[in-house]
Subunit: 307 residues, 2 copies
């Protein structure tokens, strides 16, 4: 007998009580870890104006993968979007109270997010995500704190450094390489986007995409060498301090420098990181990075960086 029960939307999940118990367990894990490091819980709306993401965020996600609700009310100045991520909301909330909030500010959140892409194993169109941000402390120690909390969360779920690696890079370090190879600043973001896709591309497709961005054969060869070069010590005091801090925090076994990590969001300016399974099976477990300009990009007047 074929069931005629109305089906849920593709890429969404029903949480029967056993599933909900698992969700609650995961939420409580993230709550305990976040709050033990002094982070405060917050939450934003699920509906945000399209304009919030246009300035920064990730062009591909917003233009191709967002759920857009056409405005039907003159109160709404822009189309509405189901939030694909939380950082722009955080930036908007912090900018709105930039003179009354106390910095450094440690906030965390556990919420639902939406991407209108093809549903695939491990990621639906509607999914839960943990967010953790430290704002107003612009030094590698802050980045190390966030990365360490992420590692403590993985450890609390039973993962070991044999199973997961957190790959770390510095976009400023890549910038300095771009300068040496004469890749101009206006091409930077689009070249970042190509590098971000590298793991999913064949070598020749990767080169073709770089050529489309206007890079010469010589520049491509130099870029390929640059994103393999794992000695940052002479060129990035930031990374040197970050890795030293991570060693002090006792998580050196979990972290690796990887000059090919850039992450998909346009607002990252410095450190970027991504937790990956060591066996390369499955998606990344978490990721993030430092954003120095996002608060002013959404209208703030103070210079407040975050990670």
């Amino acid at each position: 007998m074929t069931s005629k029960v109305i089906k849920p939307v593709k890429g969404t999940r029903d949480f029967y009580p056993a599933d909900q118990a698992w969700q609650n367990w995961l939420y409580l894990k993230s709550k305990v870890i976040s709050e033990s490091f002094g982070y405060q819980e917050y939450e934003g709306p699920i509906l945000e104006p399209y304009s919030l993401y246009l300035a920064k965020s990730a062009e591909e996600i917003i233009k191709k993968q967002s759920f857009i609700i056409p405005t039907k009310d003159k109160m709404d100045q822009a189309n509405l979007v189901l939030r694909p991520e939380l950082t722009p909301t955080l930036a908007r909330m912090v900018a709105a109270k930039e003179y009354s909030l106390v910095f450094p500010l440690r906030w965390w959140s556990w919420g639902r997010f939406f991407r209108y892409e093809s549903p695939q194993k491990g990621r639906g169109r509607e999914f839960y995500q943990w967010n953790l941000d430290l704002l107003g402390q612009d030094c590698p120690n802050a980045d190390a704190e966030i990365i360490t909390i992420g590692i403590r969360f993985l450890a609390s779920l039973g993962f070991t450094p044999d199973e997961v690696v957190i790959k770390i890079n510095d976009r400023k370090y890549l910038d300095s390489k771009f300068n040496l190879i004469n890749i101009s600043q206006d091409k930077k973001l689009s070249v970042f986007r190509v590098i971000d896709k590298k793991a999913k591309l064949s070598k020749s497709d990767f080169r073709t995409m770089l050529r489309k961005e206007g890079l010469s054969k010589l520049q491509i060869r130099d870029l390929e060498l640059a994103i393999k070069d794992n000695d940052y010590s002479q060129e990035s005091p930031w990374l040197t301090e970050l890795f030293s801090s991570l060693t002090d925090l006792g998580v050196a076994d979990w972290v690796d420098f990887d000059p090919a990590i850039v992450r998909g969001f346009d607002y990252y300016t410095d450190t970027v990181f991504e937790a990956q399974p060591r066996n390369k099976q499955g998606r990344s477990l978490f990721g993030g990075g430092r954003y120095q300009n996002l608060i002013s990009d959404v209208g703030g007047t103070r210079e407040i960086g975050g990670v």
Copy 2:
């Protein structure tokens, strides 16, 4: 200085840490009460197919107040809607596992809902709502249990029976009045909708709307008398048993019979109730009712009623 910070969408709320702490407190109150009565937590998707609400639910809410996302993928057979309420999702989930779930089934949920109406005090376009349902036990005792848990929740927030009243009615009782007045079955739902709006209408507007539904002057006079008549004892054994049960449960002070209560959802078949401030200031605090046909309306084959 005018702030140029990007504004949130009208009718949505930012939950700064102090607001989120209050949300968590409210969530935990509802969790403790629900689970002390043996209810299990569940959750559904925020995105649902438009078709789920079309069959039943509330015509006005779905057609005029829902956030609709046009389909852009052939995987989605109907337009997507941000859920305005949870009962149709619950019905869909129960119908999908109608032969493996154990009845009576006690489920509760705390989640976010969406209505694209003009934001007003006490209700945004995006809001949180507690849901509590008891399925597979078709007697007034089940209705009394749900109403009592709602009252315990209000009491745990510090409300007293001097401040809040739960008004209770039975749609079947109204049906029997309709029969006496010769209001035909096909007009039933639309007359219910007019009665549901009565509190917000002047006497003459109320009459005008009933006349538009095709009722004669005589029928309108009889209907007005019927929804004032507060003696159900000869005509509704269901209400008699329900009020007796509520007295046994020690909440008689909180409840009143009100033949003008019908609630806005089309799927209610029997008991309907609504918690209102005694001073008539502000919106209703919660509401609900018994739905005997919703599981089969979404495609189930077993006859499972719920409240």
